[in-house]
């Protein structure tokens, strides 16, 4: 601790270090939020084609989703807008 005082007066306490007000603390940059996964529109003919495929090829096109998703969208006539996630 440092002291500054006139002789005969009460010593004034000076803090050893104070923050520099001109230095703005760097705010941590927030982690980028990934955009929500967008549904991918699959045309009707592809859904039909997928259903016609077998084995690995079907899995590949269904991208892990069960075949019933494709089938369901086909049966409900929603296949034009049927949704498979990327």
């Amino acid at each position: 601790m440092s002291y500054a005082h006139q002789p005969g007066s009460e010593p004034i306490s000076i803090p050893e270090q104070i923050p520099n007000p001109a230095v703005r603390p760097k705010l941590p940059t927030p982690e980028p939020v990934p955009p929500p996964r967008q549904p991918v529109k699959i045309p009707q003919y592809r859904a039909l084609w997928v259903l016609g495929c077998r084995g690995d090829r079907r899995k590949q096109w269904c991208r892990g989703f069960p075949v019933r998703v494709a089938l369901w969208s086909l049966l409900t006539h929603a296949t034009a807008d049927g949704m498979f996630c990327e």
Binding site: S2, I14, P15, E16, Q17, I18, P19, N20, P21, A22, V23
Partner: protein, 336 residues
């Protein structure tokens, strides 16, 4: 001043506890950013420094790591001299690794005081710019006493006095010059593989310091050293000269130009202005700067203003950092 250990040995030891950062350290050790100077660090440990004991032991013991050096702050129990790095960024990373390894707080710790070393000896006037620029731009405004700068060589060995800025130990020093130096030729940038200095350094005895201090000192030392590089043709020479002009004008506006005339650094080896009278003359100038900065803090807190010398110094450094950061090696020329 002998390094405590080689960089490779240090990284090997750190890798035991901090593997990811150590890998990054090893890869980036000699990388120079935008022609900024390399950075050396000394840690003056006050207190018993018990947290550093395992590190020192792993590096070969106190006899090998610490006791080869005469130099330390008078109050310190030991001084750890770290091998230099190519940039302030890597220097900060190195200290973060040390903090992780030792589990000791290194930044802003009153018991771990930093000394930041830059290659080359600045002229006394440039040393004054370095000291004032560092002080005004720091995260914290410190109240230094003269004894905060007392070292084992203040009155003995090479008589450096008690100063914020201190030169190297001359022929007693160890210096790693294997870092790139950005030189200017008729054809533009030429990158040399070695620094144009044999042993010379200019250090700042920071005290408890922050990453921001290391980065600011590195920037200031670079522009000032390039401004005075002369025959070595520092690439940033004209920018450095412009910086000196801008900083002089700034100090003149605040009636502080006279502070540059004080003996901020002991200029000669073995005596000269390392005497107590010169120490007092230096302290008077430092106090003038400290009081002015503190009065600015009071004014800023009362008025909520965003002007004044502290803000101006921040803006000045930001401008020059942006200019230097905007130039890349790929754009400017070929390595030689």
């Amino acid at each position: 001043m002998a390094f405590a250990t080689s960089f490779e040995s240090l990284v090997d030891v750190l890798a035991e506890r901090v593997p990811a950062k150590s890998t990054l350290l090893a890869r980036e050790h000699r990388r120079v950013d935008h022609g900024l100077l390399s950075v050396g660090l000394k840690l003056h440990c006050l207190g018993d420094g018990a947290r550093f004991a395992p590190l020192i032991e792993a590096l070969g013991g106190a006899g090998r790591v610490l006791e080869r050096n005469l130099y330390k702050r008078s109050e310190a129990s030991f001084c750890l001299v770290l091998p230099p790095t190519g940039s302030a960024r890597v220097a900060v990373l190195l200290l973060e690794c040390l903090a992780d390894y030792t589990r000791a707080q290194i930044f802003n710790n009153p018991n771990v005081q930093l000394q930041v070393c830059s290659p080359g000896r600045l002229t006394p006037r440039s040393a004054a710019f370095l000291a004032i620029g560092f002080y005004m731009a720091s995260d914290t405004l410190r109240t230094y006493a003269l004894d905060d700068f007392a070292t084992t060589v203040s009155r003995n060995a090479y008589h450096r006095g008690k100063r914020l800025v201190i030169y190297d130990g001359g022929m007693y020093g160890e210096f790693d010059c294997d870092f790139q130096w950005w030189a200017r030729t008729e054809n533009g940038l030429m990158v040399r593989d070695h620094l144009p200095f044999l042993t010379s350094r200019t250090d700042i005895i920071v005290g408890p310091g922050s990453p921001n201090d290391i980065i600011n000192i590195n920037l200031l030392a670079t522009v000032l050293m390039h401004a005075q590089a002369g025959e070595e043709g520092g690439y940033w020479q004209s920018l450095g000269e412009l910086f000196v002009r801008d900083f002089s004008a700034l100090l003149n506006r605040h009636l502080l130009l006279g502070a540059l005339e004080a003996p901020w650094v002991c200029r000669t080896d073995f005596g000269g202005d390392g005497d107590p009278q010169s120490d007092e003359a230096f302290l008077a100038a430092l106090q003038e700067i400290m009081v002015y900065a503190r009065s600015e803090v009071s004014r800023l807190s009362r008025a909520g203003a965003d002007n004044g010398i502290l803000c101006e110094v921040q803006a000045l450094l930001r401008t020059y950092r942006d200019i230097i950061g905007s130039i890349t090696l790929a754009e400017q020329g070929e390595r030689t």
